[in-house]
């Protein structure tokens, strides 16, 4: 689709726009893109790491699997949207198998979980590399071109990404607060023994919640695929950042997840303008460590705990 079709009538007013405003809005939107992705990846991690106390180092691979699902569907001639629908399914399948085969046997052995999930992560990475070959995989966005937002011109696909991410988050909030399954999850989180006492199958609830988190991470991978470099090893960066989101934000609430994502995503995108990405990463790490030192229970101290 030609870019013009996306421009509203006031596009001609652009020469009069102040440059500073352009810069601010672009930075804000870039930050919002990163924050959206981090929220989706962090959501699954908040469930497994924050609530079930399972340190899943293969969580980044759900993102990778989602991105590869989109690549695979596109490479056999399917559209991006079909790929995006397949991404959470792929994430869920991998997550379900992982929970069933490994994680549920290790709930009482945290260090073993770390080692085993890292092993799975290596196996998945090498498996993808052996299946799809070396090198970055191309994924084309469904919509080329930009959208004029009066203050700035911004790639249309990124705006769609932000919208889908926000809608997904809204859906998750509704699911947790308004459905009977959400009630089960909240009960298990608050008191596992009591939940078993009132007849909730906690094992099944854990398994479904874990699979659900994997599916959301897969969706995040699918969404980010056209923007990122799709590689079997891409997951580890999302893994580290998503853990920061959960650690900084504090566990146990959606508010913490949002706060953590805004902290990590916002800081990263603002710093990326000024300095090299890896230095920016290092500063974000240090800031996260200092934040944890100052507020050990998270920036947004969730009342639900």
């Amino acid at each position: 689709m030609p870019p013009k079709a996306w421009s509203p009538a006031c596009a001609n007013a652009s020469p009069a726009r102040p440059d500073a405003m352009d810069f601010v809005v672009t930075t804000l939107l870039n930050a919002l893109t990163l924050i959206s992705i981090l929220m989706l990846v962090g959501l699954g991690l908040a469930i497994s790491f924050g609530l079930m106390n399972v340190t899943n180092l293969a969580h980044g691979e759900f993102v990778t699997v989602g991105a590869f699902a989109v690549y695979f569907i596109q490479s056999v001639g399917g559209s991006f949207w079909v790929g995006l629908a397949a991404a959470p399914i792929a994430g869920a399948v991998v997550g379900c198998i992982l929970e069933f085969a490994i994680i549920r046997h290790l709930y009482s052995r945290p260090v073993s979980t770390v080692l085993a999930t890292w092993g799975v992560s290596l196996i998945l990475q090498q498996g993808l590399e052996l299946t799809f070959g070396l090198g970055a995989k191309p994924v084309t966005p469904p919509i080329e071109g930009t959208l004029d937002l009066f203050f700035t011109v911004y790639p249309a696909y990124r705006l769609i990404l932000i919208a889908i991410a926000m809608l997904t988050l809204l859906g998750v909030i509704l699911l947790i607060n308004r459905t009977s399954f959400g009630l089960d999850i909240r009960t298990v989180i608050q008191n596992r023994e009591m939940a078993e006492g009132v007849g909730i199958n906690t094992r099944r609830t854990y398994a479904i919640a874990f699979t659900f988190g994997a599916a959301i991470a897969g969706l995040a991978g699918g969404l980010v695929a056209p923007l990122a470099i799709v590689l079997p090893q891409m997951g580890v960066n999302y893994l580290a950042n998503a853990f920061f989101v959960v650690i900084v934000g504090g566990v146990g609430s959606i508010g913490g997840l949002v706060a953590g994502s805004v902290f990590v995503g916002g800081l990263t995108s603002v710093l990326n303008y000024q300095i090299s990405p890896s230095l920016a990463q290092a500063i974000v790490l240090l800031a996260a460590i200092v934040a944890v030192r100052l507020r050990p229970n998270g920036l947004f101290n969730g009342a639900s705990r």
Binding site: P110, G119, V120, Q126, G127, I247, S278, L285, P296
Partner: protein
């Protein structure tokens, strides 16, 4: 002296005797292979000193190895600095200890333990590797730095030059033996006992008057300093330094060496490093991408089949036979 300590010393003496006898049967190339494996063994022992004694897993230990290696390379490659080898080693140890002190201070005094610590150190490793790649004006970027001279220094009129195979092997073996012995005596003494108490129940240990965060911090710094020493030794022997040395894969491999060798035994990780390096070279020689795949499988197998390392097979067999005899 209790039986466990005696057993450990006997095994240590056997290993030391083998290390002394090895040059009699091996040629120069074989010596350098074992020498490099021993350096990684020292690295594994440094991780074991922290992980085995505190139960807290550091997932970015290669960061310290890499920091030590890069500092050593930069100091020895700079002609303006006199006594390059000695200052380089000191700088490497101090640099790794410094980074560990900063990160450890915030984490331990911030109450970060267990999985959270693992995650933050994982990120630290990722960032160190990225920094090594992108800060190319200093680190040489992806290709690293080459042409690092072998260790050479004068001490008390004695000239030490490690450019030959045999002297470098003896030097490395002696350092590894000394450090492992020192770490062992620290961890079996009062310091180690308090660490075990902290691992079992930190609140109770603190109630008994032990400054738990400080103990953990000092242990972590010591562990990182030895990792830095191993890194410095390695780059001098290999003659080059590259971003891989601080990478996640090495951080992961060292965990496997410790886990396979037996966590908390100090000697086991050294042996684990030597054996697994050997296996890695054999496997990588016919397919380089097979190794990470197998490494992943090893992780899963360790967790489910051998949670206490290879040495535990012996203990298990023993208890199996004892159980049979009692049953008869």
């Amino acid at each position: 002296m209790i039986a466990r300590d005696r057993n450990w010393l006997v095994i240590f003496a056997v290993c030391a005797a083998l290390a002394v006898a090895y040059p009699l049967i091996a040629d120069g190339y074989q010596l350098t292979v074992i020498r490099d494996a021993l350096i990684f063994g020292l690295f594994a022992a440094s991780l074991d000193f922290f992980w085995g004694r505190t139960g807290i897993l550091c997932f970015g230990h290669a960061a310290f190895f890499g920091i030590g290696g890069y500092i050593m390379a930069l100091v020895t490659l700079n002609d303006a600095i006199p006594f390059g080898s000695l200052l380089g080693v000191m700088g490497a140890v101090a640099g790794a200890a410094f980074v560990a002190a900063i990160i450890g201070y915030f984490l331990f005094f911030g109450g970060i333990r267990g999985s959270y610590f693992t995650i933050v150190t994982l990120a630290m490793g990722v960032i160190c590797q990225q920094a090594a790649v992108s800060w190319s004006s200093v680190t040489g970027g992806d290709s690293g730095l080459i042409g690092i001279p072998p260790i050479a220094f004068d001490v008390g009129g004695l000239h030490v030059d490690l450019s030959q195979d045999l002297p470098s092997y003896i030097f490395v073996a002696a350092i590894v033996a000394l450090v492992v012995l020192a770490l062992w005596s620290i961890s079996r003494g009062r310091w180690g006992t308090v660490l075990t108490a902290i691992q079992d129940n930190e609140v109770r240990a603190a109630a008994l008057g032990h400054n738990a965060p400080l103990r953990l911090l000092v242990t972590f710094i010591l562990s990182a300093a030895i990792a830095g020493l191993a890194g410095a030794l390695y780059v001098c022997m290999a003659g080059l330094v590259a971003p891989d040395l601080s990478g996640l894969l090495l951080s992961t491999e060292v965990i496997v060496w410790v886990a396979v060798g037996g966590r908390g035994t100090l000697l086991g990780p050294v042996l684990g490093a030597i054996v697994i390096q050997r296996a890695q070279q054999t496997i990588s020689s016919f397919n380089p991408s097979l190794w990470p795949l197998l490494l992943g499988c090893v992780f899963v197998i360790i967790v489910f089949v051998l949670p206490d390392g290879i040495l535990s097979i012996y203990a298990r067999l023993k208890s199996l036979f004892r159980g049979r005899r009692q049953a008869q």
